[in-house]
Subunit: 337 residues, 4 copies
């Protein structure tokens, strides 16, 4: 940590800062510049920099250590590859996950899966528990939904990804799913992250609606600190002043996070835009900037979907998209199965 | 719901919209204006307006029903007053809650409470479970913290407010606290809200960092729908591009929410600004624009606080603030005990 | 305009709204629904919907007419193609513009142009007048810069695009440039837009840092209303809470704006990210989601650039990028010369 | 400037950074910590920190010098007081400015001024040139408006504040106004700021819709660098994801800016909220947190206003507000005439 004193700081003020640094268990070293004095606090303890910002004569306090470690490239320089049912996420592989927003009936999921099988989909997504802004909106069909997903996936030799919304559901989910999905609203549900850190299945961790890159990595750190490093990060749009799209899909997250972390990162263009006709261009864009995969909502009959039909692709749209991104991927050195 | 067709919409496009409206269980009524045709969907079902926005010829779809009901002034025109330990929140009363960010030791909480008693504080706040961005930061001392809070509060004839972070903790919290506090990160933890709706204690519901007024009310609706209407909303700052302050305290939330909802709304200037010397001016501002109370972090020795010391007031600062806001309140027709 | 009354609105309140609508020169038509009454204001006058929102009993006021006309697809259904020096922007063409952020010396611009010529660049960009946040930062070399650009461009058979920052400069710019560039900070400098509307040269109109899609189109409307329809819109990133990148590049703007407007839209990945190593992935993403071109900062020696060197590509990086996007473009039905 | 190397940085990488620092004209000093090496660049030159961020082995680059000087408390520790027509802004004084959004007719301005005179208003505001998002909205009546303002103000012994939108208008404005007002959209119209820096009249500088505190001060720096230090900063709301209010009024700007700058800062609650019934509570809040004044839209007949009637107070509302804030001001040590 560096404490930068202002140009007019007095000797007493400097002494007070040194004393505070030492009281927190650091060693203090003073460097006097031409204009300003900078005091370095040497040591590996955690501290709140605002404690120093409020001291008289202090201009700025700069923290030099990141709060995340295991997720960084300093900790592991090579890409983590997460593999599920033969599909790989990370390094030179981009994996695809598709399926309906919400599980409604066996027939709905099965007809969707049947269509997706033709597009080589190996991982089926579907929501059984739906976190909804309004208490009066469709909330999902619960464990029955997980059973349907499992059964359909087995028939089509697919793996299952589904969103878990509470620690009380972990045991139940263990029975049915291959990938735990943590939604944007739960990105900072730290108890849930800790518990998932002790499981042995891959986790899709979605970026919170107003979370920074650093906070996303810090949440992944909670999971890794528990022992589970099979994490797939997911950019799904952030909240901004622009309301035309449901969220603002922040694709720069892809090259940024791939530079600082070894974890794979995929994109959810369905929630990221909220509009079916934007899913296809944004999926191509995501692949073109190097993402490690996509998770896309597809419904065999989106006009009758109970949830988010407007952002779900028709199976034939998905197939066309699949064809296009398979052509784009090699140009940027990626492989899509 | 109103579906606005664009100026060039064909008869077929209009017919298709009518058919879709009817398929969703609504009655459709067409009004042809000079420039545009508007189709009203009459009925009380819930639907996703984007399903219609994507139909050919449609310009815009406008939803006419709010998704929250119990929390509105249409449902209850008079102010809800929540009363805890003689302190009232709502209508002409502004209540005060104070205490340390985190419970550290019995002595720390007791010395803080002792100081606050002199400023007439009747509700003590303190965190036993701390949701922290980093897994390596101090996470609170757990149930021991709740015990300390209870014991100290009893000694000083105070009530206790503390943050619950998980449904698994409800039973434990019931034993120690008088007010459940739901933090900003949990504002959309809908399972938690549903469970709290079945309890019989007041709930402080903090606005999420990037939640709209409507979403805050919708979350309160989850609790009220469960049967508990003792809800105190809390503005605690939103995330914006300005990073100088920890959050941007959105005080306009006060007059806006008081107009559309009957629930009381208080302000948390400590998290709202993140800086001790901004807490005092923003507290006064909050009272001046009509809020129903404040929740403020105070620590008997903030320089040694394990968490958020930088935003905690010294007890004597709190006392001065208390005196000032007691003078401001009557000017805007409010009473502070 | 539709005025939606709340469920408990009285007859007097409805009458008062009708009267206000008529006083503003509209015809009022009342539709009583099961729950709510909606009053339509028929007429083509401009009005401020907030005037009605404040009337007693009113829940919401919905404006049905967009404020922009000439820029919409209702006005012109086919894509506008802007052509400069053989390079086309719009419809199936994506055009490229490249050059240094700021003009420094003849040698610097010439060596950059010479390198870019090999990558088939036909339009050279460069700033002679630099709007800088700090008064103490390099402000550009002024008219001398425009002369250098013109002279270098002529030598290499290129056209010139440069940013104009004030109406007083129009005559001067007319002498040297082929494309006027309006920067993000000037997107709502309406006097400048009006003046440019009377010129006969193409205009690149950059989206303001916190401007919505609608506001961008409204600013283009100012230019078109003046008679100049040779407008190239430009997405260059918006300001959000994420500070890792200089701005958040909002690529969804591409498919959204192409749907509602006939004007071409290009992307500036240099300002959009602010970091050289993010320019290349985001350029590919922009092409993949269907943009009509790119404007990219390239410097023959970015390490010594006086301005924004950190976001400028080396010429060889640009060449590699050019090769890659030429491969991606046909997959989405676009042609790059 | 401090360049922080990552933990694994090699000697070559460190040497390369040192070389780059020296090439930019700084002296480099290396401090090796236990974990990281930090290289200080000593010197007073301006540089772009991103040039160093991109070098191999660099984790972070920290700039130690603020880019603004004249506006800081280091430059001048005592409050600047701007005085116009006996009204003072700054230090212990809060000044009030009121009047219609736009000048429409002599009668409209005169009747408004007559009403305001009874509330002791000494500075009349009014817009003659209106920057409007839509080219089809009312744009103000131009110089005639300035003449009306001057004439009405003279009759009522008031001073005049009006918004200038272009450098070409400076000479004209000099004839009629006592205070130049720079609108939010022009906060970074640097040519305009430079020109105003050479005038001798006070300037109200409004914060841009998405400008940080630092950028606001930097824009004030442009004016001060030109020689004019009679600057009144103005918080008028920023753009956030919340759309219920027109803008999000960021009142924390008041205590923050008053701490780092000696310039007075006032609040515009009319644009800050966009809704008449929110103006009064937010004005009280602004005074309570220590602002140096208010600029408020008042119209003798807001229902018929050509512009922003919905956010204009009735004169009697203003009078009530004036009475209330006169009671609040002394509690926070301020005086309102």
């Amino acid at each position: 940590m560096l404490v930068v004193m202002n140009a007019n700081a007095t000797e007493q003020e400097i002494a007070k800062v040194v004393q505070s640094i030492e009281a927190k268990g650091f060693e203090a070293r003073i460097s006097k510049g031409e204009i300003k004095t900078v005091i370095s606090a040497i040591g590996s303890k955690q501290t709140d920099k605002r404690d120093f910002e409020l001291l008289p004569g202090v201009t700025e306090v700069i923290q030099l250590t990141t709060n995340y470690k295991l997720t960084t490239r300093s900790f592991q320089s090579t890409d983590t590859i997460v593999e599920v049912n033969g599909i790989k996420f990370g390094d030179k592989y981009a994996g695809l996950i598709a399926g309906p927003c919400a599980v409604e009936t066996y027939e709905q999921v099965d007809s969707t899966a049947e269509a997706l099988e033709k597009s080589n989909v190996k991982i089926l997504r579907g929501g059984a528990f739906k976190p909804r802004t309004s208490p009066y909106a469709f909330q999902g069909i619960g464990e029955d939904g997980l059973k349907i997903l499992r059964s359909v996936a087995d028939n089509h030799k697919m793996a299952v990804a589904s969103e878990i919304i509470d620690i009380s559901q972990i045991e139940m989910f263990e029975k049915y799913v291959d990938i735990f999905q943590v939604g944007a609203r739960n990105m900072q549900n730290f108890n849930l992250l800790k518990c998932l850190g002790t499981t042995h299945k891959p986790i899709i961790l979605k970026r919170g609606m107003s979370s920074t890159y650093e906070e996303l990595l810090m949440s992944a750190e909670y999971i890794m600190a528990g022992g589970n490093s099979q994490i797939i990060l997911c950019e799904r749009g952030i909240r901004t002043f622009e309301t035309y799209t449901r969220n603002t899909l922040d694709l720069a997250a892809i090259p940024v996070i791939k530079k600082i972390s070894h974890l794979p990162i995929i994109v959810d263009p369905s929630h990221g835009t909220g509009l079916r006709d934007k899913v296809e261009p944004m999926s191509k864009a995501a692949i073109a900037c190097g993402c490690d995969g996509l998770i896309i909502e597809v419904h065999s009959n989106p006009d009758c979907a109970l949830c988010d039909g407007a952002q779900s692709l028709y199976p034939e749209q998905y197939h066309k998209l699949y064809t296009d991104i398979k052509s784009i991927a090699p140009i940027i050195g990626k492989e899509i199965l």
